[in-house]
Amino acid sequence: MINRLIEPTTGSIEIDGVDVTTMAAQALRRGIGYVIQQVGLFPHRSIATNIATVPKMLKWDKQRTHERVVEMTELVGLDPEMLDRYPDELSGGQQQRVGVARALAADPPVLLMDEPFGAVDPIVRGRLQDELLDLQNKVRKTIVLVTHDVDEALRVADRIALLNVGGVLEQYDAPDEIMRSPANQFVEQFVGEDRGLRRLGLNLVSSLPYHRGPVVPIDAPPDEGLKAAEQEGVAWVGVLDGDRFAGWASVDDVRAHDRLRDAPRTQPAAHVGPDNTLRTAMEQIMSSNTSVAVIDDGGAFAGVVTLEDIRAALSASPSSNGVQ
């Protein structure tokens, strides 16, 4: 309906503030990238000509078209050697990439994807989804992607419009918000019973309020370390050497030494970065059998994460910093 292959009966669809029904259908479609499940490459045209379809209609000159074709080929990760081949000589995954390259060739602001990964096996699908996210980071388009796969939607979307049979809009929200507070039973059923766990995969460590923990500089007096541990109610203290985390020392060891520097330290077992998901953080904490993970922001100590922090974050208001 957005590209008027189906005419809307009521309501309006606007692109950059222009109602699509007021535009000439062909001109509108040339400005919208279109990717469908069966790809629909033109079998009688080479890969290069397929990608150049819309630029050719827009009457780009040869040089510009060719440069764009090569650029698109690289963008979607295709070997430029394939440009002279025909679609039937490519694998399904390669054809889908060509489909995306073709859709993006004229640099449309909007990309429509109708179940683009519906016809591939789950492993390839996962890879294509990752590639789509990478691609989106590079091209920054408005992508409208239709899917029946709720995991796919949760994984790739910034916002999800959940439609029931008959096109009834049940909820329109960020993925994390849909799982945190499903609008109704339909939505709840749709996202599944383990939505609490799924949310772990959608939120980043950087979305947590950073919590410094019982951490003191290495040249601080031992008493300061003991005080920090006491405040947190734990029996250990983190030692910071400059902005690097130097290890954990037990309260008993700190007491036994005059200088904090001399107390024996153990290296932290669990590390996470700000770009890791809460799922990774939790996994780190669980598998290392500690109760805390150190946040390492490019070598510098940024804070600590505890299971309690993760639990608190998931029950708090919606995060503004989820995975896109």
């Binding site: 590209n3 069966q38 629909g40 025909y86 039937d88 000589e89």
Partner: protein, 223 residues
């Protein structure tokens, strides 16, 4: 024995003596075939377009072209002779073209119907106008089917042209009738033989053209 000796399958002196007549017959045969095919292609293109655009016309169009196809050619030539005149080219070309329609229309329609829906959807979705979609996407993709139809129709037309000899046309057919009427083998052999060679040659040429206009179909086989 004597009769056989005087009337062999082919008498080469006759071929040499009558070479001008033979050459004229080949030219006429070729002319009739080409004109009939061109007319057939034009008419079948229109019929196929109508059948594809208005699906309900498919059945009557197939029925009509089938009916034409079943008409005995001898009778049809004889019937049309008084209408257009015995020696007029039209008299031969129209029935000959008529016989090509069933094959050409059927193959053309099948060719367009074989275009994958996803390809048409993609073409529309990218903003091709309907005319452009038909001419630059659907027609090329239907080409293998259309060319197969053209090849079959051409070979059958070359054979059918000989029948037009009953109205004083017919190219190589006249040689055959000439021989038949005199119980003289040589013109029949030459007429029939050249007719076969002509059919095979045209078929080979069309096969070459088909390969040239559908390069992607060859590449597929290579992989």
């Amino acid at each position: 024995m004597i009769a056989e000796a005087r009337n062999p399958i082919i008498r080469w002196e006759w071929v040499v003596d009558e070479w001008d007549q033979i050459r004229a017959a080949i030219t006429e045969h070729l002319t009739l075939t080409v004109l009939a095919m061109l007319l057939g292609i034009v008419v079948s293109a229109v019929l196929a377009a109508v059948a594809l655009r208005f699906r309900w016309t498919m059945t009557p169009i197939t029925a009509t072209t089938s009916l034409i196809y079943t008409l005995p050619s001898v009778a049809l030539f004889a019937l049309l002779a008084p209408v257009f005149g015995n020696l007029a080219l039209t008299t031969a070309v129209i029935p000959l073209a008529g016989y090509t329609l069933l094959i050409l229309v059927t193959n053309t329609v099948a060719g367009f119907q074989a275009v994958p829906k996803s390809v048409r959807d993609a073409a529309d979705g990218m903003g091709l106008t309907p005319t452009r979609r038909v001419l630059s996407v659907e027609l090329p993709l239907a080409m293998p089917y259309i060319m197969t139809g053209v090849r079959i129709a051409t070979v059958s037309t070359v054979g059918l042209v000989t029948v037009a000899a009953i109205i004083g046309q017919g190219g190589l057919g006249r040689l055959i009738f000439n021989g038949l009427s005199r119980a003289f083998w040589t013109p029949m052999t030459v007429g029939a033989g050249l007719s076969i060679i002509l059919a095979l040659t045209l078929d080979a040429i069309l096969l070459g053209i088909a390969a040239l206009v559908t390069p992607w179909t060859r590449r597929k086989a290579a992989t």
